[in-house]
Symmetry: C3
């Protein structure tokens, strides 16, 4: 089911090079510097749930595709907010997925799922309506075993570091529990302040008040608010955090004077602000976060450009994060300028920028990362976390930004079981890209070998200070 | 002249797979759900005109390229509106085309024309200045034969269904004549209401009045206007229509209350409206059309993003559709939201969206089609109806929307003789794309075979309800 | 170090075709119609400076990459404006470059530099920290020789024509000296009027005054200002100029009445104008320049879309052109319309348009060039002057604009030694692209051979009237 040459170029010359390069990186430990796994798994180390609730119900890549072809989300186990009925039999959910598995042909979900079935559950037949029950039984059987618990899989997956993502309002109790447990797996957190930085976030005012309560700072004042951030960042650092993450609608930044910023903060806190005020506040906060990063060394990640919850109906019925986030055209040249003018020249600062707008790879992002010392390019993200997406990323960035202004791979996932599959795809696609450069003599193979190892392992550790 | 492996990847492994896949789809009937052939051809079944007036004078792909290189349109038989002289000798026109045929190297026109010469007219030499007359003679000879009349070619081309496109003001007399003739060829119409929906269309007010006259409805009122649309749609359905088509400048939609819509309609009908009013009216009408589609089952097509008649001079001298339509940057995420919020969740509705802005394939269109049940992606269109265009379409949409949110191929042409050539290119390029997925082990060959047949035949029938 | 098959496709069938095509163009003379070499080199024919001051200090491709990875520009020999210290030992600069040469893996700089080391300096070892000194010594030795002087290299490089770029305020004394010297190398100028056309250029008012002084025209009046342009254009023509060049921020054009233009000019000259006035003036001047081109036959080049001097800090410390120019999203469809409506139909006019926004290749530029007789597409430019950039250019333009609406290659460089390397890359990539069309049977090889020669030699001479 998993061919050893999968994703390698078919041309025999290129393929042979790709194989040799891949051999060097295949078994390197996994470093996962940004993602959304649940730290409770590793804190509690309880068995994972049934196959459907493990793989389908929480995976928006999967249920969005099934929904797009007419299956109600309720039939896939997604719970309506209003208490309406929904499918609760995991076997039924699994069968629906299996019967429609052909829809995923050509998608990364197909690649990841095949890998999970084969490499985690040792299944060698193809998933379809006919095999659904057999495969379900087999998975259930495995999931009950000790060696399928979260920590055992973490070790089996050869994960060196795994970062989760938490709000400043999170008490990090799961991370504390992991630490207290004595288990040596390195699960670290990352600081994602959107709920207390974005004035348009649900219950922003309440969140800022809670931030005050947590830190004992007066977050109704600009100084107190900033101090509270500094404090929570330090707390996150004490649980291993080496980075922050910012999921803003745009890449806009601002560099107001502290007087202007304070006035804007007061306006925001009054609750009487415009959409433009909110945007400007988010913009200013990116610069404030960079200023703090210069002090505490946390690496900044900016993930802009998603129109969240695009479907009014899905949002009303099921809430956030139901697969209806859609990329938007995103600008970087003017948007990042205030931040870059302030701190872009600082080699001690690292700002990793991502995009959902591939037209910016070669036009904006590679040229910016190819000049500003503080700037690095995050890998192909979300809808582009796929073989073709990764290929386009390298083709459109390497010539201007090189390889060394990029930061290795991010799996950015909550689907823990698929993490090795995602790194496997990234490593294969990078080896395939390098093999092409070797085959058409743009690079010697010994250099390509160095780059392959850097892309799979060294760059991520360096960029994220791990 | 036509190599059996044309457009297949050169790598022997991929090529072998592509060949095997193509063998499965090569002889499938042609389903052409959207295009601009003239129903009069099949109603009257008269011989086609001479080679120049058949292939060059009406083909904007051809005369725009020759014009771009300095040949006056008059010299190619295009008639100036002011009665100025133009070339009327078809042999002279043909010779000019032949002498400049090298300009089409690397373009789809070259591929289509070679196919027509070879497969329709059994010509095996290359077209150039020297061969022009011999080829012209041969074509003229063939065109005089019974088996080169429209219906004979329709049958020889193995066309199962061919849709034409008509205005609501068309009386469909040619379709009626086809039906009355007893000829079993399935030529159906499609409802293209731009002339009575776009306030900026030439003589919009007159068109709306004519719509009233045709239906006996009072199209000066919002209710009467909508009722007239419903009636014409039903009439079009009775002549086989399964779809509507909307060629708006943008993809903007709106979902006004009926009160607001009525007020807007009154403003438009008063003739005293702004460009923004016109845009809003078109936007609202897409939503109205979707509402009607939910009732009568017609599939909606949206073809946005062309700046029509870009050249003031060409438009003044020769009128519309003279090859000077230029794609514009086109947004979908915000633009389609009102329509999608209203009806995007309805699996009973099908909205097929096209684009002339390839930067939206992966950023906007595939993510939207990959979540909304009502949305499907039309194939690579117009300037992208070409090998590289088709390849980019699959590379940029398959990973997010899969294959099953796409709808097979549209030839979208008035060039009847080239229809099989266009479907041949599409089938070859899809097989080539699938062969790559098989060769690098993203798909098994038996699955690729299923997908190939779906892309060539099943998906179009399902999407267009044929 | 330089493999004879470099940049050719690895597939043996394609590679064999690419080799045969390349053999036809490999030794054709270099025609370089647009670039930034210094005419003083050829006027004086003095030895080039040391390796660092020849290859690193003036090359923004090189120092921007090193800077992006944390090396101060001062350490690379770039002189701060305020007189702060900077590295003046060329050997130290060279060593820093060599130690970081791995950063250029996958970039065109790597390809060009390897070519220069190998083909100009006959060096066969790879550049790195260890080999730095040996290579430096070898280069120094060569640079002292007679046959490494500018004119000797010009001849050795087989350059048929080399265009430099000068401001209207330049007295062309170097070109005059070249002419007087009797040396037969064809070094011509080109008219780049930005300093006297762009109201936001440093010291615009002074520049316009100087233009008046130079020509004896009253450049404070619209008529006198235009007459001065006409005069300088004629002067440039007398030194071989066949083209003008316009580096505007956008592609906007305007076609004001002469009354409106005159009023705008007065406003601009008053010094009291808005950014929009400046933009409109630049827009109008493109149309004025086209009008002059219709009279004097100079070919227009438009190079829009660069955000110049993006980094406030680099600009303040080091001045212009320090690698911090970043591409911006650029529109052409509406922007070029006024100019094209005025003169786009004139086959006697040639306007060559470039872009830094690749998303416009297939959406805007190829469709425009594929219809307007006056319009031609410049090759992949600046950040896209690279193998992947060139490949994308052909893939996205050939199907709509064909090959014959393009104009061959521009090296657009000040790095004289790399000119043959750049043309070598362009010729190889074009042959590789053509080889693909031959291999998948879109083109016969004899036709591809013709196209290869046209792309390498004939088209540039025709387009630039050389």
């Amino acid at each position: 089911m998993l061919h050893p040459d999968r994703l390698f170029p078919p041309d025999p010359t290129e393929r042979a090079v790709a194989r040799r390069l891949f051999r060097l990186v295949e078994s390197l430990p996994i470093v996962s510097p940004h993602g959304h796994t649940d730290p409770a798994w590793f804190a509690r180390n309880e068995p994972f749930p049934d196959p459907a609730n493990l793989l389908i119900v929480p995976d928006h890549y999967i249920f969005r595709m099934l929904y797009s072809q007419g299956l109600p989300l309720e039939s896939l186990g997604v719970r309506p907010l209003d208490g309406s009925p929904f499918e609760t039999d995991p076997r039924e959910i699994w069968r629906r997925f299996a019967a429609h598995y052909y829809l995923f042909r050509g998608t990364p979900t197909r690649i990841w799922t095949d890998w999970v079935l084969h490499s985690v559950f040792d299944i060698s037949e193809r998933l379809n309506e006919e095999s659904a029950d057999r495969i379900y039984d087999r998975m259930e059987e495995h999931l009950a075993r000790e060696d399928f618990r979260p920590r055992a899989l973490f070790e089996r997956f050869n994960i060196e570091t795994l970062a989760t993502t938490e709000s400043p309002l999170d008490d990090l109790s799961h991370h504390e529990a992991i630490r207290r447990s004595g288990w040596p797996g390195r699960v670290i957190t990352a600081y994602r302040p959107d709920p207390v930085v974005d004035p348009e976030f649900e219950d922003f005012a309440g969140n800022v008040a809670r931030l005050g309560a947590l830190t004992g700072r007066d977050t109704q004042t600009w100084r107190g608010y900033l101090a509270a951030h500094r404090e929570r960042r330090a707390y996150f650092k004490s649980f291993g955090a080496t980075s922050t993450d910012h999921g803003h609608p745009t890449a806009r930044t601002a560099d107001l004077s502290q007087g202007e910023a304070e006035a804007l903060f007061r306006k925001i806190m009054s609750g009487d602000f415009s959409a433009e005020d909110a945007e400007l506040f988010r913009a200013q906060m990116l610069t404030e976060m960079a200023r703090m990063s210069l002090d505490d060394g946390l690496v900044m990640q900016i993930h802009p450009g998603s129109f969240r919850n695009h479907s009014k109906r899905l949002f009303a019925r099921f809430g956030r994060d139901k697969g209806a986030d859609i990329p938007m055209r995103t600008g970087y040249v003017r948007e990042l300028k205030p931040l870059l003018d302030a701190f872009g020249h600082e080699p001690a600062l690292t700002i990793i920028v991502f995009t959902l707008d591939e037209s910016t790879y070669s036009r904006e992002l590679a040229p910016l990362a190819g000049v500003y010392p503080a700037l690095r390019l995050g890998p192909a993200w979300w809808f582009f976390d796929s073989p073709e997406g990764m290929r386009r990323f390298r083709e459109q960035t390497a010539e201007t930004a090189g390889f060394y202004n990029t930061v290795g791979f991010n799996d950015d996932t909550r689907a823990f079981l698929s993490i090795p599959a995602r790194h496997d795809v990234a490593r294969r696609m990078d080896c395939a890209f390098l093999a092409r450069l070797v085959a058409d003599r743009r690079l010697d193979e010994d250099e390509a070998a160095e780059v392959a190892v850097d892309l799979a392992y060294n760059l991520v550790k360096k960029a994220y200070r791990l």
